[in-house]
C-alpha cells in the first residue's frame, strides 16, 4: 500500500499530463476547474488515467458525479445548499471536504469540492479497498 505522499505525487503527475499544467501550479488545495482549468471532458480523461495509473476500477459517477442535486428544491434553496443537500454531499462524496464548503454553501461553489487532495483521498480509499 503506497503512502499518501506517493499517491499524491502520482495524482499530480496525472493532472499535469491531463490538464497540461505545470507541476508547481498543482497544490493539494487546487480546485480542478477553478485553479487548474479542467473542462467536462477532462474529468473523463482523469478517470481513465487514474484507473491506468493506479490499477483501480472507478465506477461511473463515483468520483465525479454527473449531477448531484438535479435541481431538487429540497437540496438547494435560494442558491444555497440546504442541510439536507449537505448530507447528500457527505454521502456521495465522502472523500471531499464538505465541512469547509458548509461554511458558505453556495451552489455555484460545489465544483470547489473537487480538489487535488480530494482525488488523492479517493484513490487512497480505493487502494485500501483493494488491499483488504
Amino acid at each position: 500500500m503506497p503512502s499518501r505522499e506517493d499517491i499524491y505525487g502520482k495524482v499530480v503527475g496525472i493532472l499535469v499530463d491531463s490538464l497540461n499544467v505545470d507541476e508547481d501550479e498543482v497544490k493539494p488545495t487546487s480546485t480542478l476547474q477553478g485553479d487548474l482549468g479542467a473542462e467536462s471532458i477532462d474529468f473523463l480523461d482523469i478517470v481513465f488515467r487514474l484507473e491506468r495509473g493506479f490499477n483501480i476500477k472507478i465506477p461511473r459517477g463515483e468520483l465525479f458525479p454527473e449531477s448531484i442535486f438535479q435541481g431538487d428544491p429540497e437540496f438547494v434553496q435560494n442558491g444555497k445548499v440546504t442541510p439536507k443537500g449537505l448530507a447528500e454531499l457527505r454521502a456521495k462524496l465522502p472523500f471531499a471536504d464538505v465541512e469547509k464548503f458548509a461554511a458558505d454553501p453556495q451552489v455555484t461553489k460545489v465544483s470547489d469540492l473537487f480538489t487535488v487532495d480530494m482525488i488523492t483521498k479517493y484513490v487512497e480509499g480505493k487502494l485500501k479497498e483493494g488491499a483488504s
Binding site: D17, I41, D45, E51, R60
Partner: protein, 156 residues
C-alpha cells in the same frame, strides 16, 4: 461526406491496433494553397487521419454501435514535415477501452521517419453525456468511414 483522410487500412487487429496509409498527392486540392510552391501536409489534417484510424478502431470494437467522437488530443508532437509525394502510415493502439470512451496512442510515419505522435481520447457520445441523447441514427459511422474497412478486406 468526403472528409476522408486515410486511403486504406493495411492492418486491423480488432480492439487492439490498426494501421492505415494516406498517400499525399500533389493533385490534392489542399496543396494548391498549403502552400504555393511548397506542398506540405497541414498538421491538423495529419491528426485527423490519425483520429480516423483510431476512431474506426474504437468504433469497430463495439460493432459501430457507439457514436465515437474525438474528445481530446493530449501531447501531440510533430517531428518533421510531410510533403506531397510521400506516403503516411498511421498506427493507432488502444490503451484504454471503456463504456464511456477510449484512448489511443498513435504514431505517424513517412517511411522510417517519425512525422508525429499523439494520444487521442474518444468519447462515446451517448454514454459520456447521459443527460443528452443524440438519437438512434449513428451519424458518425454512417457511410464512408465504415466502407474503408470493407476496402481493406477487398484489397487483401
Amino acid at each position: 461526406m468526403r472528409w476522408l483522410w486515410i486511403d486504406r487500412f493495411t492492418a486491423f487487429n480488432s480492439k487492439h491496433s490498426a494501421t492505415a496509409v494516406k498517400n499525399l498527392s500533389r493533385a490534392d486540392d489542399l496543396f494548391r494553397d498549403h502552400f504555393p510552391g511548397y506542398p506540405v501536409m497541414p498538421g491538423s489534417l495529419i491528426l485527423e487521419g490519425l483520429a480516423q484510424t483510431g476512431g474506426i478502431l474504437v468504433g469497430e470494437a463495439n460493432d459501430f454501435k457507439e457514436k465515437v467522437v474525438l474528445a481530446k488530443i493530449s501531447n501531440a508532437r510533430f517531428e518533421r514535415e510531410a510533403l506531397a509525394g510521400e506516403q503516411l502510415t498511421y498506427h493507432a493502439e488502444i490503451v484504454d477501452l471503456r463504456p464511456e470512451g477510449a484512448t489511443i496512442q498513435g504514431t505517424v510515419k513517412a517511411g522510417d521517419d517519425l512525422v508525429a505522435r499523439a494520444e487521442i481520447m474518444f468519447a462515446h457520445l451517448d454514454q459520456a453525456r447521459s443527460a443528452q441523447t443524440f438519437g438512434d441514427q449513428n451519424f458518425v459511422f454512417s457511410g464512408d468511414l465504415r466502407k474503408l474497412l470493407g476496402l481493406a478486406k477487398l484489397v487483401k
